[in-house]
């Protein structure tokens, strides 16, 4: 240690609420807005845009973005090798991604929070058992386990959700376990305990409400991870059945045309990247928000 380490910089800026922080707030809200747009597009888009994965017209194959198709419409994002509209694929793919992300987060969140909360609250053998299972699962790379599971069974939505949830619940379990462990020492939990309130009720009313916020922040990050993993599975041909639309499948179908028709892989790829980045930013913001509260 030199004396340098002891010198404090006297000009450390103190955070002041100025116009600058307002700019930062607006900029910070952009990713949340984009994320919201994706969700709206995923829910409402398919109601307005018609698209069928078996519908394409071979006369319209490999049209560049903005071209006019044989039936007189405009292919905003171009068409793929079978003449199918890319705009439709991106929209329907958004629906698939958001649906799978939501299902995986709901399913793994439910399992993770249940296991984590019960383990953290009860402690003892229950906790030991849950912790060891988590440790073992942590030793596997998540996507590898998902590939194995998705590869063994027939391709279907349920299998994809299960394959992705197998490792995804761990994050929820670890978070809720550590929170339940500190919450059970809170006086209001002790107070409810000495008033003879049932365990289930204590968990539901005195512990879970405090886990909800940080879990929501984690859920967004897990959501992004699930979407990325689903795209990876579909890219490898292990994801959804080929009759469904998925960004991963579209990207895979475009990889042979990267030199001639870049848009087939690039447009869904960009859509995927922007979604994951925006969800990540949203998650960070939520984490900071709930971190400040505690």
């Amino acid at each position: 240690m030199t004396a340098m380490g002891l010198v404090h910089d006297a000009t450390v800026p103190v955070p002041v609420r100025t116009g600058r922080s307002r700019v930062r707030r607006v900029v910070g809200a952009i990713p949340i807005g984009i994320f919201g747009l994706y969700v709206v597009a995923a829910v409402l888009g398919p109601l307005f845009v018609d698209y069928s994965p078996v519908g394409g017209d071979l006369a319209d194959r490999l049209l560049a973005p903005g071209s006019v198709t044989s039936d007189g419409g405009t292919a905003v994002f171009g068409t793929d090798a079978l003449g199918r509209d890319l705009f439709g694929q991106v929209l329907y793919g958004a629906r698939t991604s958001v649906l799978i992300g939501t299902l995986v987060v709901l399913f793994s969140g439910l399992v993770g929070i249940t296991v984590g909360t019960v383990a953290g609250y009860r402690g003892g053998t229950t906790d030991l058992l849950a912790s060891r299972v988590i440790d073992v699962l942590l030793a596997f790379p998540g996507i590898l386990l998902a590939i194995v599971i998705a590869g063994v069974f027939d391709r279907s939505l349920a299998i994809v959700v299960i394959a992705l949830s197998v490792t995804n619940w761990i994050g929820f379990a670890r978070l809720s376990r550590s929170m339940a462990m500190t919450l059970r020492e809170r006086d209001w939990v002790k107070s409810a305990t000495v008033m003879g309130v049932r365990r289930g009720r204590i968990i539901a009313r005195h512990i879970l409400p405090f886990i909800a916020g940080p879990t929501l922040a984690l859920a967004t990050i897990e959501f992004a991870g699930a979407i990325l993993a689903e795209a990876a599975l579909s890219f490898l041909g292990l994801g959804l059945p080929s009759a469904s639309v998925s960004w991963g499948q579209t990207i895979a179908s475009g990889k042979e045309y990267l030199a001639s028709a870049w848009w087939i892989a690039a447009i869904p790829g960009t859509a995927l990247a922007v979604l994951v980045i925006c969800v990540g930013f949203t998650g960070d913001r939520l984490t900071r928000h709930f971190g400040r509260q505690q």
């Binding site: 006086d187 209001w188 002790k190 107070s191 000495v194 008033m195 003879g196 049932r198």
Partner: protein, 340 residues
């Protein structure tokens, strides 16, 4: 709700040889060692001692709330039933309904996400009352503990209450199950001095109205001298003196009690902290041999360093664990007092 029959020995909670072992730096240590006392119906028993003396741990053990790693032995007798060996289901029946607890800090002992009414009524809900009935009863209870406009405030959240009001709500919560024994763990320590007196008055009033037996855990002698009927003085996990509060405080039979009484500063006379207790409290994990108080005791002799003093009756109702308690019984002061 019909009035429960309150008679016989069930009106007293008897603690016998309560010993609690906790894992310490060198294996299990008895941080509470052979504690015995009674909680008598309609009386307030004060449990006093410095921090770390095991007083809170003792109180919590009465409702079966000790750390997971701890082991409690001895007896906590409710009637003829030893609560330390009772099953989980039985303990849950007793909690709230026979024995309940008022916690130290009402700002942490109330769940900030639930309304006051829901929390007070929680035990009633788990007994099968409807939401509305529980609310009505909660309002009655809040009114009983002196919260103005109780009916209008059952829907309020803890942060909308002041500290004193929160502690009143906490007391209402403890009384919701109509317990006979209330354990108050430093119920006024977290409150403003002006509010403290009101809460203590309230506890005294409730004890008389509902015929409760109360265990008041505190390190504050002045609180004790106002409220307690009986006193149990603890030091390093052991009882060093026990007896009627007035007698114990006026004529301590243990040098530790004596030192405690002397260390309380008087408000009127400027003798403030004239006689602070020397040394630091004994660590219950590393209790000195012999009498645990001997390193700080002005009267200590060789015998105190080796021989653990027995807790024995010195005068009727007065119990002390000091080798020289019989001598303390008759000092020039007390002799003069007797002659008067």
């Amino acid at each position: 709700m019909p009035e429960r029959a309150r008679q016989g020995s069930a009106g007293t909670l008897r603690v016998r040889d309560l010993t609690i072992a906790l894992p310490g730096p060198r294996g299990m240590a008895d941080v509470v060692d052979g504690v015995s006392f009674d909680m008598v119906e309609g009386r307030t028993t004060g449990l006093i001692g410095e921090s770390g003396s095991g007083k809170s741990l003792t109180a919590m053990a009465l409702v079966g709330l000790i750390p997971d790693t701890g082991v409690a032995t001895g007896q906590v007798l409710l009637g003829e039933e030893n609560l330390l060996t009772a099953g989980r289901a039985r303990i849950r029946q007793i909690r709230g309904a026979e024995i309940s607890v008022v916690f130290q800090d009402p700002s942490t002992a109330l769940n900030p996400t639930m309304t006051i009414g829901d929390q007070v009524g929680e035990i009633l809900r788990s007994r099968g009352l409807s939401r509305r009935q529980a609310r009505e009863r909660a309002a009655d209870l809040l009114d009983h503990v002196g919260i103005p406009d109780a009916a209008g405030r059952v829907g309020a959240y803890p942060h909308e209450f002041s500290g004193g009001m929160r502690q009143r709500a906490m007391i209402a919560l403890a009384l919701a199950g109509r317990p006979r024994f209330v354990l108050a763990d430093e119920p006024t320590t977290a409150l403003d001095v002006t509010v403290q007196a009101r809460i203590l008055d309230l506890l005294g009033r409730l004890r008389d109205e509902d015929n409760l037996s109360m265990l008041l855990v505190s390190h504050d002698l002045r609180v004790m001298s106002h409220v307690a009927d009986d006193l149990v003085v603890m030091y390093a996990g052991r009882v060093c003196e026990r007896g009627p509060a007035k007698a114990v405080l006026n004529r301590p039979l243990h040098p530790y009690t004596d030192a405690l009484v002397r260390s309380v500063p008087s408000v009127r006379v400027r003798s403030a902290i004239a006689d602070p207790l020397p040394g630091s409290p004994a660590n219950p994990f590393d209790r000195p041999a012999g009498c645990p108080f001997h390193p700080r005791c002005p009267r200590a002799e060789d015998r105190c360093r080796t021989e653990v003093p027995e807790l024995r009756e010195i005068a009727p109702g007065r119990v002390s664990a000091c080798h020289f308690a019989e001598l303390a019984q008759r000092t020039p002061d007390t002799v003069a007092e007797e002659l008067r």
